[in-house]
Symmetry: C2
Subunit: 335 residues, 2 copies
């Protein structure tokens, strides 16, 4: 058994990230992380006739470029693991169709990318797969009309609302070769502190992030000091503050300067993204560019990457249900 | 590496199904498989105030009873793997919240249950988990209003439409102990032969089932003769015929008397389910009761269980996109 106990798997044969790509939309490409992305879309419609097809095309291109960087054809991929926010994860499914590789569809809302890394690393470590392409995407225009309102309405958003990023991230995990090692993964439980405001994702997810981060540190007998950076995705500015409050209240040492949130880093406040970025693609894109490149350059050595999702649907919200959150985490280590 | 090559994983340490439960709704409990189910709902609303909450409660009860049968508490479960047809898989998420165990949300439409078995078995075989509760559900009333029309409209259905089963199935996979062995799993590719009729799921999925079944037989160097039964879920009567046609056309030997479809077995024609049963819960419930009990009794020795899903969303259909299918398969062997 390679489990550390609790919710954490310590991978016996840690896979490496053989290649990774972070793609950003136009607005995201005008933010503080612009220089880090591997590609910035000039047109968020990508020449397609719908936003949904555009999101799918973004995934396909990002996946293909990741495979190209690893010198692999789609036929050499044992499995694609991933998903997106669209109902029935159609963006990823239609991209997986074009790739032609075996596909494992996941849904963890904005936690999907780290869910994919956690699972993919386990499957490779256990010898069941040789490699796995982990991916997640989101698109502002597909998410707005599905979860909130048609864009054409120009609906005003409350200040605690997050901005769904148009972005995609892909990481190719491999059982051999060089790259960042994925050494452990912590599974998430569904945590619900009874937040019912569907515009307040940071508040809905912070308790789940707290639960998974503390489970990880406890399971692996570590503290925040053992990591150079603890990355969350995507709490936004408000959610990040709430996480720090939860840590303080519980007496968990979490230095604020070590806690970096992808959603709170993707945009500048001047871009008016309200509470910050969100969406499956935000943590995927930011971690596959900004975070992984800094590990590869040696600036960072050990990073705990977490991804959290708000598992609501418009139906559950309309029925007055609260918003459960979930969070997964993987530890990434430089060579 | 424990892979047989191609899309198939031959599990080095085959997990066993330590406990399993198949639950059916009222209509399903009046069909030909009534005597096999572990529970039949008296009321499809289960005392809840919405169909969505009822579906979630059905999952929770089925999961709890499965754990009880295995003598396990929710705290002893390493992970719950599963999903359902509701947007953002809320039925399973809300059930997982009440269980409190780590949760890995999956989406493979009606293939979700076998996707969960394939993944869960790999995670246990590789030593990453000690056990995994695999589950999937569907509910006629939640699916109708989400994918088709509000029930209150009484919309007429074309003859090729399938009937979404109100049903749930749970199987507890374990790394030790007695039970049916899960010896191999075949991952599915997204296959699309350009079916655009969202009422014709059998036609949309049959090519994916053909692809996965032939991949499984090729990868493991077996023929249909090596299995007592080849179970599909859920093609319905029309989809099953189409699968047999595809096999004949490709020269793949698939004896009709060996091919049993869960959707074509759940209802009698007299119950007017049109093309047969469908929904994540159909293959989950039927395989967790009818199929697994017959393996345990010794009537069946080796069964290939496949689950297929139509990966459409109302949005993709309304945008004129075709309906891609996907199919996973696991081989089950009696002790």
């Amino acid at each position: 058994m390679s489990r550390a106990g609790g919710q954490t798997i310590v991978y016996e044969n840690p896979p490496v990230i053989a290649a990774h790509r972070g793609v950003a939309g136009r607005k995201e490409g005008q933010g503080p992380l612009a220089e880090w992305f591997d590609a910035i879309l000039e047109d968020d419609l990508l020449g397609q006739k719908s936003w949904e097809l555009a999101e799918s095309e973004m995934v396909r291109r990002c996946a293909r470029d990741t495979l190209d960087a690893a010198g692999l054809s789609a036929g050499g991929v044992d499995a694609v693991l991933g998903g997106d926010l669209n109902n029935q994860i159609i963006a990823t499914t239609f991209a997986a169709k074009k790739l032609g590789a075996p596909f494992l569809g996941l849904y963890g809302a904005c936690s999907t990318f780290v869910e994919a890394l956690t699972l993919g690393a386990a499957l490779i470590s256990g010898g069941d797969l040789r490699n796995a392409l982990c991916c997640a995407s989101s698109h502002f225009c597909t998410a707005e009309r599905q979860f909130r309102f048609p864009l054409e309405l120009g609906t005003q958003r409350p200040p605690q609302a997050s901005w769904t990023a148009t972005a995609c991230g892909c990481a190719l995990l491999s059982g051999g070769g060089h790259g960042i090692q994925v050494t452990s993964g912590t599974l998430g439980r569904v945590i619900d502190l009874n937040i019912t405001d569907a515009n307040h994702m940071g508040a809905a997810m912070a308790p789940a992030v707290f639960d998974t981060l503390t489970a990880h540190l406890t399971d692996t007998r570590q503290s925040a000091d053992d990591y150079d950076l603890i990355v969350t995705g995507d709490l936004g500015w408000i959610g990040r503050d709430l996480l720090l409050q939860l840590c303080r209240k519980a007496g968990v040492d979490m230095p604020a300067d070590k806690l970096v949130d992808c959603g709170a880093s993707l945009y500048s406040q001047a871009q008016d993204p309200h509470a910050g970025g969100s969406g499956c693609g935000c943590v995927a894109s930011v971690s596959c560019s900004w975070i992984m490149k800094r590990i590869e350059s040696g600036e960072l050595s050990r990073v705990l990457l977490s991804g959290s999702g708000a598992m609501l649907s418009p139906t559950s919200s309309q029925q007055g249900q609260s918003i459960p959150g979930i969070c997964y985490a993987v530890s990434l280590e430089g060579e």
